[in-house]
Amino acid sequence: MHPEMVKLLRTAVLLMLVAFAGIAAAQAIDPLPFRDHAEELRFQHLTSELRCLVCQDENLADSNADFARDLRHKVFELMQQGKSDAEIKQYLVDRYSEFVLYDPPVNHRTWLLWFGPLLILLAGGAVVAYTIRKRSLAGTLAASAPTDNGDDW
């Protein structure tokens, strides 16, 4: 291929990439009138901790769903009213249940979720400790009595 052609093609591809990146960024970010960068960061942080209920494996910050946009605007509106993060979360929990929170709160209904893995680890540890103790016991027995039937695993 002619070097000029290659250059032209490369430029075209680059321009296209830039254009697409622009579209993607425009979709993900709402043009919300933040007072300053700190408020924008607070908004990003808060919406990243809330679940989009239409697309349940996405958070509000990342979701492009129309519903997620509505809830983002609601969060922004509540922020403008001077509500704290906890108050905003409670507002949404009152309407959409605790499911709207990405981090489930620790309470009597979620203790198994939070501490279940620890219980399983403890149970596993107990089994390992039991096995090791039994084996070392079998080892000392085997040393004194050489009639090992090879049945021990």
Binding site: L53, V54, Q56, D66, F67, D70, L71, K74, V93, D94, R95, Y96, S97, F99, V100, V127, T131, K134, W153
Partner: protein, 180 residues
């Protein structure tokens, strides 16, 4: 005994897996239980579809139980639900109020003209702001609200003849027993 331990652990894991499969098939994992059940419905004032200058509020509807069915002309599942509402709405014994959610009024009117109108009244929420108070996150959704304005039942997803017979009608009957 210790030889059986791995088998025991395997059976336990298999039982856990089986339980998970059963749980997920018996429950809709995307349905979020409404925290509004047995709580007062949020107050609202929304314009009527055919008379946009007239608004209907929660206070206007107090006194008798009613159903609020959230629908929209753009909502695919609402199209599946619609024939069921057309067939059953008269037999429910309570007024059925259509809640047109984030919809264009002309689209909604055309949709109702084409598929039939099972509603006693249709109110519109173009912005979807009131719907947030109701915890709506996707149409169709149906709320049963009693005469005191308390939410007594909510269905997320289309009403089917089975859901109406097994859940909605018993809930309505329970209300009518409560209120003499």
């Amino acid at each position: 005994m210790s030889r059986l331990l791995p088998l025991f652990a395997f059976v336990l894991l298999a039982a856990l897996l089986g339980f998970g499969i059963w749980w997920n098939s018996a429950h809709d994992p995307t349905a979020v239980p409404s925290p509004l059940i047995n709580k007062p419905a949020p107050s609202f004032a929304l314009p009527m579809l055919d008379q946009p200058t007239k608004t209907v509020s929660k206070d206007t509807l107090l006194g008798k139980p009613y159903l609020v069915n959230v629908f929209a002309s753009w909502c695919f599942a609402c199209g599946e639900e619609h024939p069921v509402l057309m067939a059953e709405s008269r037999s429910l014994g309570v007024p059925l109020i259509g809640y047109d959610y984030k919809d264009d009024a002309n689209d909604a009117k055309a949709w109702l003209a084409q598929h039939g109108n099972p509603y006693d009244m249709v109110i519109t929420d173009v912005s979807g702001h009131t719907a947030i108070d109701f915890g709506v996150y996707g149409a169709p959704e149906t709320f049963l609200i009693d005469g005191k304005g308390v939410v007594r039942y909510k269905r997320i997803g289309p009403l089917t003849p089975e859901v109406i017979a097994q859940q909605l009608k018993p809930a309505i009957e329970a209300l009518q027993k409560d209120a003499p």
